[in-house]
Amino acid sequence: MLDALTGTLEQGLLFALMVLGVYLTFRILDFADLTVDGSFTLGGAIAASIIFAGGNPWLATVVALCGGLLAGAVTGILNTTFRITPLLSGILTMTGLYSINLRVMGRANISLLRADTVITRFTSALHLDPAYGTVVLGLIVVGLVGVALYLFLKTEIGLALQATGDNEQMIRALGVNTDRMKLLGLALSNGMVSLSGALVAQNQQFADAGMGIGMIIAGLASVIIGEALIGTTTLRRTIIAVVCGSVIYRGVLALVLRLGLAPTDFKLLTALIVIVALASPQVKAWWQKGKQRQKGVSPDA
């Protein structure tokens, strides 16, 4: 039982970096960025390849992060310079990344069994119990990234980035190049996503070309769950909510697995969670309308 709990926490924390990235584009920038599926795999692929070749795992993780920054920037350029719609820009990058990821790995998957990863190095350097090494590392990295994101969003550039998602016309009229803000937001977001992919690959000790499939929906589900359960009154609260949402989401998946659902049905379940969350305001509206009609009150009154 305890194993399952630490397992959930590990997963929740490492994936939380990806969820923070999704939050940055989807909520703050109001940009539905599908690059995520590709950039998550990219992070895993880069880190695994470098580690497999005998490289330093910390360096491998940083290079993976930079790969994500670059992938996000490509989507940003497609959207801002060439005026391709946000959805299509992301899909184009994601599709291209599928080939790039296979090139980076040279095959469909890489095993890191018994390899030296940031997790093994961190655990041995601090003489931690290997069972909790990932959780401690995850807490530290998510804490650092979360605080950095919060502080960044409160800077002059950060406010301009928030305003780009909130009211683009207004912030442009105040002298901000909104194209540059979108580029920056997409790069940062996918950098976080790639970092997440790199750490997840090292934790599960393998990377494969399909590890990012459905990642955007998992990210959305986590954001929605966190926001619904913890709230969005302030930026600080929302960032904490999003991280918790990631842990809760992984918990739900673990629970459902214990109840006997096949792991291959996860994606369907995730899609259903997001559908329910996104559809509920509409269903609620119908419900209320129906109730008013029963009472004989017209909705206009």
Binding site: K154, E156, G158, Q162, N167, A173, L174, N177
Partner: protein, 266 residues
């Protein structure tokens, strides 16, 4: 100060819907001019403001601001010199951000934005003072999200944001039209007060012919993309709303009888 030379703008060019929104408009504003801009729907008033602000480039002509040719500058690069308030109160502020965040973004108008913390103690006190001048109680709501404010409060805030850094040029696009009459008057009075205090060069679009003559220092009328009337000083003082209407009809060769301008004049 502001100089437009032969500016034209065509929408949907080379199609059957082609519309000449601005037809060879030349207009020159002196420092401190407060122009009220009137004209029927589709006369080109908003297009004119948008071309000056750089929302889209003109198809012909040049625009100068303080001797500088700004015709080819993108909108965000002109923004440092031009403050704007839109008709829709939702357009001028970021709803999910707080009052002080909106203000600090406006305070950085046209400046380089860096990785410094945006809001400091000193600014907060100053914002409070500026908000107090609006007389709407906003000084106590610095950390409230702007989406919670009323339309009038948001428009007053937008006005403050547009003038916080004393822009070289202030563009008001029917900024009181979507407010209720009482709030509209409050916002209009605030506008006059701020413009007079800072001696701002201003263009205000309005549909109200009486306002067009009583507010500001100069009245410009447009029709079908052309400036058909431009009066100031004694000539403007002698003008009545009825004269203005007759002049408009004579200049444009059309009757105003069924137009919204007539209704607005009552």
């Amino acid at each position: 100060m502001l100089k437009l030379i032969g500016v034209s703008k065509i929408f949907a060019g080379n199609t059957i819907n082609e519309k000449l929104a601005l037809n060879d408009v030349s207009l020159s504003l002196a420092e401190g001019d407060f122009v009220t801009l009137v004209g029927s729907n589709g006369a080109g008033k908003s297009t004119l403001l948008n071309v000056i602000a750089g929302v889209f480039p003109p198809d012909g002509g040049r625009i100068f601001l303080d001797e500088r040719d700004i015709t080819d500058l993108p909108e965000y690069q002109r923004a440092g010199a031009i403050g704007r308030v839109f008709q829709n109160p939702l357009q001028g502020t970021a709803a999910n951000m707080t009052v002080e965040e909106n203000l600090v973004m406006a305070w950085k108008r046209g400046q380089r934005r860096g990785l410094r913390k945006a809001i400091h103690f000193k600014e907060r006190a100053w914002f409070q003072e500026e908000l107090k001048k609006l007389g709407l109680g906003l000084e106590d709501r610095l950390t409230a999200k702007v989406g919670l404010l009323s339309g009038g409060q948001r428009q007053a805030l937008t006005l403050l944001m547009a003038t916080l850094t004393r822009p070289q040029l202030l563009l008001l696009d029917e900024h009181t039209a979507s407010l209720d009459p009482r709030t509209a008057e409050v916002v209009l009075n605030l506008t006059c007060q701020i413009v007079n205090e800072q001696k701002l060069t201003t263009i205000m679009v309005t549909h109200n012919l009486e306002q067009a003559l009583t507010v500001g220092t100069r009245t410009v009328m447009m029709h079908e993309g052309k400036v058909v009337l431009d009066i100031q000083g004694a000539e403007r003082k002698r003008m009545s709303v009825l004269d203005l209407m007759n002049l408009f009809e004579k200049n444009s060769g059309t009757s105003l009888k069924s137009d919204r301008v007539l209704l607005a004049a009552k």
